[in-house]
């Protein structure tokens, strides 16, 4: 058995712990008056209780959010019932509200963002872990992570004034022209090039989710034992074959967790989307047409909503958004947790 207070520990404590601790401790031991002990006991339980209550605050917060949203959404849910989810009309004048268009917009923009963002994120992660010269590793990782630091309103203003005009002028006419005579795609890319719309919002979202997916994918890629990769290289595999047949299968759970985390972010993103989505409450087949998402509807209309039913319908939208993102994010965390546990064994 190692003595608890070996010499090296003692040095360490001397170096790290300020003199006052040692002094206090010495008085506590030497004096050992019952009042000091009682005081310490009191302070100990005080700290214990206050930290415990702070931890419970986190739980209370989540319950509070859910309860308040349900409470606020109740009038709308009572009036429209289950049909709220699949009704498309959104008419403040006749007070008929349905969530179908925003829910559709939220899901479609996020899915397209994933289609574009996931391959790029995984590509960046492969670049950082397999190809990048060690000297550049940190600067490039930092640069990608800084993308996560840029506030979403900046993405919005950039998307509206830089990306949207560019898409309108060059990319969208090209898409419309190219798919004019292709059966399904022609309806996906139909109509005049507005610049703003579902596709533009998806593009912005795909840039915004890059750092989140990349950083998790990179982290799980680095958990692959070097021995496994080296064995594959030893058999003559190319870098791509090692990534495809060793790294990806090994880290599957973690990568899916990272992708779902990115999806959760994309679903709830507000400001960037609000700028470029066009805010039109309808479902259209064309990806170039303006649409709306749950968060954009709330951001645009909440302060101007008059009447209890209007406000309540917007809160009901918030509730739907929270439930969807909660499920996605919880799933992501469970997968990442499983990955971590498997690693521990």
């Amino acid at each position: 058995m190692r003595p608890l207070l070996s010499l090296s520990h003692y040095n360490c404590v001397q170096a790290r712990v300020s003199g006052s601790v040692v002094n206090n401790a010495v008085t506590a031991v030497a004096g050992r008056t019952s009042s000091t002990l009682a005081r310490n006991k009191l302070l100990d339980s005080l700290l214990r209780i206050s930290t415990r209550s702070a931890a419970i605050v986190v739980l209370v917060m989540l319950t509070g959010v859910i309860l308040s949203l349900v409470d606020g959404a109740l009038p709308a849910l009572k009036t429209f019932g289950f049909s709220f989810i699949h009704t498309q009309s959104w008419n403040p004048v006749t007070e008929k509200f349905g969530a179908a268009a925003p829910v559709y917009g939220t899901i479609v923009t996020s899915l397209i963002a994933m289609l574009i963002g996931v391959p790029i994120s995984i590509g960046i992660a492969i670049f950082i872990t397999e190809l990048c010269p060690p000297r550049l590793k940190r600067p490039i990782s930092t640069a990608i992570e800084l993308l996560a630091g840029i506030p979403s309103i900046i993405y919005g203003i950039w998307g509206l004034f830089v990306l949207a005009p560019l898409l309108q002028k060059y990319v969208q006419p090209l898409l419309i022209g190219a798919f004019e005579n292709v059966p399904v795609l022609s309806s996906l890319f139909a109509g005049p090039p507005y610049g703003i719309g579902i596709l533009t919002a998806s593009l912005i979202l795909s840039i915004m989710v890059l750092p989140f997916i990349t950083s998790i994918t990179r982290d799980v890629f680095e958990t692959v034992p070097p021995m496994l990769k080296e064995s594959a290289y030893g058999l003559g595999c190319t870098t791509w074959e090692v990534v495809r047949h060793v790294v990806l299968p090994f880290t599957k759970t973690g990568v899916i967790g990272g992708v779902m985390l990115g999806l959760g972010r994309a679903l709830g993103e507000t400001m960037a989307v609000t700028f470029v989505i066009g805010n039109a409450h309808r479902i259209s087949h064309s990806l170039l047409a303006p649409g709306t998402t749950i968060s954009a509807s709330i951001a645009n209309e909440f302060t101007e909503a008059d009447g209890e039913l209007y406000t309540s319908s917007l809160i009901a939208l918030g509730l739907i958004l929270f439930v969807i993102t909660f499920i996605v994010l919880a799933g992501a965390r469970l997968l990442l947790l499983r990955m971590k546990r498997a690693e521990g064994h």
Partner: protein, 285 residues
């Protein structure tokens, strides 16, 4: 035989090269996005930066002015939100790392906290609207602060727990063996050893909330005038940018770009400072 193995070899090499080129392209695309956004901000924003931005109030449409009230509002609300959120977050993180390291409460709190970390911030705005704005009957800066502090909390909880878990147990045992009570061990040993990490967490939290717009839209709203009344609507940079950027007036759009540049510079500097603090070399010290 030899011939076919050569073509197989060539095909594999070509496929590998294609994949590697695509992967480099992906990294390049990421960098281009970052540089493009930052360059746009500097090009459009820098020309509008002047003394007036920091000394004058937000103007009515069609006239020139500054962003003073918005900058002040953002600073004060961020400050108050950090002061509310950080202590609670550090205490909760302390419980998870020091008292209930492996118990059920900690696992549940950790899971919920991770979910709250990426929960949509607009929902937090709705929540605060329900519990504060509606009962009080008016928008207020306090409500904005509470909304932001709810966003601070999970970031601080997460980093506090992680950083305290990095402090070696032998340090705690050594201090305890000297007779130091638990509260003293936590305060003088654990917090001191994890100090750089705790500061990093706070800085990251501040960076996160200083650009947040969605939760402020219907809590602290906006205010075109100078106001120090925390019980009334207060201007703040993100919402001013939102309003001005979507307006048809040139002056307002120009101010929106200046505000965007200011916020981005502030947020990215905070991020970089936090990163340098927590880099391996810094934590050796």
């Amino acid at each position: 035989m030899n011939d076919s193995s050569m073509t197989l070899y060539k095909r594999r090499r070509r496929r590998n090269q294609a994949a590697m080129v695509l992967s480099c392209g992906a990294a390049g695309a990421g960098m281009v996005a970052l540089v493009w956004i930052l360059a746009t901000l500097v090009l459009k924003g820098a020309s509008g930066v002047s003394l007036a931005v920091f000394t004058q109030m937000t103007p009515p449409p069609g006239s020139s002015g500054g962003l003073l009230n918005a900058i002040f509002g953002s600073l004060i609300q961020t400050l108050v939100a950090t002061l509310i959120g950080t202590p609670v977050g550090i205490l909760a993180g302390t419980y998870m790392a020091e008292y209930g390291r492996n118990n059920g409460l900690t696992s549940v709190v950790r899971f919920i906290n991770d979910v709250l970390l990426s929960a949509p911030s607009i929902v937090v705005g709705l929540f605060v609207y329900e519990i504060m704005v509606q009962p009080m009957g008016h928008f207020s800066a306090w409500a904005g602060c509470v909304a932001l502090s709810i966003l601070v909390l999970p970031v601080v909880v997460r980093t506090t727990e992680d950083m305290l878990l990095l402090v070696p147990d032998s340090l705690r045992e050594a201090a305890s063996a000297l007779g130091a009570p638990r509260w003293l061990v936590i305060q003088k040993v654990c917090y001191r050893a994890a100090r750089a990490g705790l500061i990093t967490g706070t800085l990251l939290a501040i960076a996160r909330i200083s650009g947040e717009t969605a939760p402020l839209l219907f809590t602290s709203l906006n205010n075109q005038f100078w106001s120090v009344n925390m019980n009334a609507p207060m201007a703040n940079l993100p919402v001013v940018i939102f309003q001005f950027a979507l307006s048809p007036y040139e002056d307002w759009q120009q101010l929106a770009w200046v505000g965007a540049l200011l916020i981005t510079v502030a947020v990215l500097s905070l991020n970089i400072i936090a990163r340098t603090l927590s880099s391996p070399r810094a934590s050796d010290r």
